[in-house]
Amino acid sequence: MLSAKNIVKQYATHRALDDVSLEVEKGKIFGLLGPNGAGKTSLIRIITQITAPDSGEVFFNGERLSPKHISQIGYLPEERGLYKKMEIGEQVLYLSKLKGLHSAEATKRIRYWFEKLEMKDWWNKKVEDLSKGMQQKVQFVATVLHQPELIILDEPFSGFDPVNADIIKQEILELNNNGATFIFSTHRMESVEELCDNIALINKSHKILDGAVEDIKASYRSNTYWINFEGDYPITSNEIYEVKQVERVKNQTVAKLQLKDNRTANEALAQLLPHVSIHRLDEVIPTMNDIFIEKVKGQNHE
């Protein structure tokens, strides 16, 4: 539904984006990842038409991105705020009217959302009287109120307590089930694993990785297993596996084994079974966090 092609953005002496392309599929949650200053915000600002790329193109549902798409995009920036002196209801109404909603329709929807997120009594409150978490909720409502096809959230969970973070997560999933596409920019990798279908990793103005979360994780499997067993057996590397790490507490051993090429976990178990009693066997699957760190560090060392 959204595709960015060969985007380049130059700020005076600094190249924020260099030939970045990505593809966001309809109805998916897309994670835009990268360390601070990698160019994520620059890319998002191009998608939200706050700035324009120096070269490259963005297509929205196959059409070239243009001002008429503004009403179909909802954007919650990382640096977000509200007018301090304005009343909440009035403020959300104003923001949604700027997105092209009519007053009556907007009012109806605000009431619906305020009820849903337990903010019913907030209508006449001023922003300065709300806590940061409460303000975040208001901002979330303002972002999704005009029922955009594409919702871009930049660090949506920062500032939320776990309870409210969970409420917002449920709302994101519900909106996603109803067909909304998300672009999700964050540093919190556990929420990426929980929510995202696809990701792109940007570092130093370049895209260095993209694809489905499952595929990426699979490709980073290294045939490594954690094994727990009981029994007095001095485990050492052999032709089936290599021992990467071992730890003994009393009669319990925890070892990290990496299988050699074309060997299977079954072979390793068969080799060990006569000597010990196995308690647990787990494949070591890299987390997004590990992948993120490995990729970014690896590139920075080049």
Binding site: Y11, R45, T48, I73, P77, E79, G81, Y94
Partner: protein
């Protein structure tokens, strides 16, 4: 554009609904009317109440006439010597003792005034004026002019200023009234541009520091946001201006008709005129804006009030747009109001210069070349032109000035827009002029 209207609406309503706006709007005319009322009251009361008893000890044989008692001073000639009079002063009803020694008419020296308290400026002026009058009469008599001729000499001349308009028609005008209007308009214009320009800047900074800016500009173009804010605040300014005019007029009219009788008005006008003549000695022109209130009322009819108000509103809008765009650019470039100082100076300077020069050079010589240039250059023209307009400005100069101002604000709005769109997204960096120029050159 629908969106710009929404922004204008918000900017306007959020300000007009503020308590401070309502208080300012309704209190200011009350204050102005109150201050003028008090001033009028005290001048009236002061002049009416000033009455001094002056005992005169005269050793003077040259002056044949005696000082004449009037409503402010009662002169009583004593027979006693100066020393006796001085001793008796405390117990007597007299406030002062005036000593007139023998002197020649050519060199009247040695006149002394004794009193328990220091005599004020105006009393000194009155007495010396009275003595001078006596000497003058004496001299005229010596040169053989009879008393009856002397009486005939006492005439009062009131100059009625008439200006010949382009059409050849004569218009009633008054230097005093024009100056009064020029000063008021100039000060108001300066205040308005400053006040509302700074409001624009504050508004931009508020959006930046509250971080709503990025939410906003994902919905609207930065230029729309900037213009919406500028126009919204301009409407607030116009609303306040109109309310002030209406309220001030209403309050003054009501106050005058309730508290002051017709005779008193005349008396006040007459006495203020007398007062201003006394304090300025023999010169009849008063440069200060306070003064001939009666005059102003008389010749307001001669000034084209509609034209003055129309020109004022046009130049307010033009000057405000010109400057507020610059203020918006400043607001976009900083993170907080404390950082605005270095950028404010270059913007404030021409405005201050225009203000100072308009109220001095232009009011003295409203048709000179300084006045012309000040009222054409858009940095100073809003103030200079409203100062000039009560004196009359040729139509072509007015048109030129208006055209240049329109061109000027289109230019500043354009430049400011380019700085603004980059500046509002910049945080945590200390901005320099060089940097602002760089922003200006960015494409999108």
């Amino acid at each position: 554009m629908n969106k710009i209207l929404l922004i204008i609406q918000r900017e306007y309503l959020s300000r007009v609904k503020k308590k401070s706006f309502i208080i300012m709007t309704f209190l200011t005319p009350l204050l102005i009317a109150g201050v003028y009322g008090l001033m009028g009251y005290f001048t009236y009361k002061g002049i009416k109440d000033t009455h001094d008893n002056v005992a005169v000890v005269s050793n003077n044989k040259t002056l044949t006439e005696k000082l004449q008692t009037d409503k402010n001073i009662t002169y009583t000639y004593l027979d006693s010597s100066l020393d006796e009079a001085k001793k008796a002063l405390k117990k007597s009803d007299y406030d002062y003792i005036l000593y007139l020694p023998e002197f020649s008419l050519e060199q009247p020296e040695g006149v002394e005034l004794f009193g328990a308290k220091q005599a004020g400026m105006s009393l000194n002026k009155r007495i010396s004026g009275d003595i001078e009058e006596l000497i003058k009469t004496q001299k005229l008599k010596q040169s053989g002019i009879s008393q009856s001729d002397l009486d005939k000499l006492k005439t009062e001349v009131d100059i009625s200023n008439k200006k010949i308009a382009d059409t050849g028609a004569e218009e009633e005008s008054s230097a005093g009234a024009s100056t009064f209007i020029a000063f008021t308009a100039g000060i108001l214009m300066f205040m308005f541009i400053m006040m509302y320009g700074i409001q624009v800047m504050r508004g931009v900074i508020e959006e930046k520091t509250s971080r709503i800016i990025e939410v906003m500009i994902s919905s609207v173009k930065p230029f729309q946001l900037m213009m919406g804010k500028i126009i919204g605040i301009a409407l607030v300014g116009l609303t306040q201006f109109m309310l002030w005019i209406v309220l001030t007029l209403t309050i003054s009219t009501v106050a005058v008709s309730v508290f002051v009788s017709k005779d008193q008005v005349k008396e006040i006008a007459a006495s203020t005129q007398a007062q201003s003549q006394i304090t300025s000695g023999q010169t009849t022109v008063t440069a200060a804006p306070v003064g001939p209130i009666g005059d102003i009322q008389k010749s307001l009819a001669g000034l084209d009030v509609t034209k003055i108000v129309a020109v004022f509103i046009f130049f307010f809008l033009g000057g405000y747009l010109f400057y507020s765009a610059l203020y918006a650019a400043i607001g976009s470039a900083v993170d907080s109001e404390t950082e605005t100082q270095q950028f404010m100076m270059p913007v404030m300077l021409p405005l201050l210069l225009g203000y100072a020069l308009s109220l001095s050079v232009v009011t003295n010589d409203p048709y000179g070349s300084t006045a012309f240039w000040l009222s054409v250059i858009p940095f100073t023209s809003p103030i200079a032109m409203v100062v000039r307009i009560p004196y009359g400005v040729p139509a072509w100069e007015l048109a030129l000035s208006m055209a240049v101002l329109v061109g000027g604000f289109i230019a500043t709005v354009w430049i400011a827009g380019r700085i603004y769109r980059v500046g509002i997204l910049m945080y945590g960096k200390k901005t320099t002029f060089k940097e602002m120029f760089k922003w200006f050159t960015y494409n999108n």
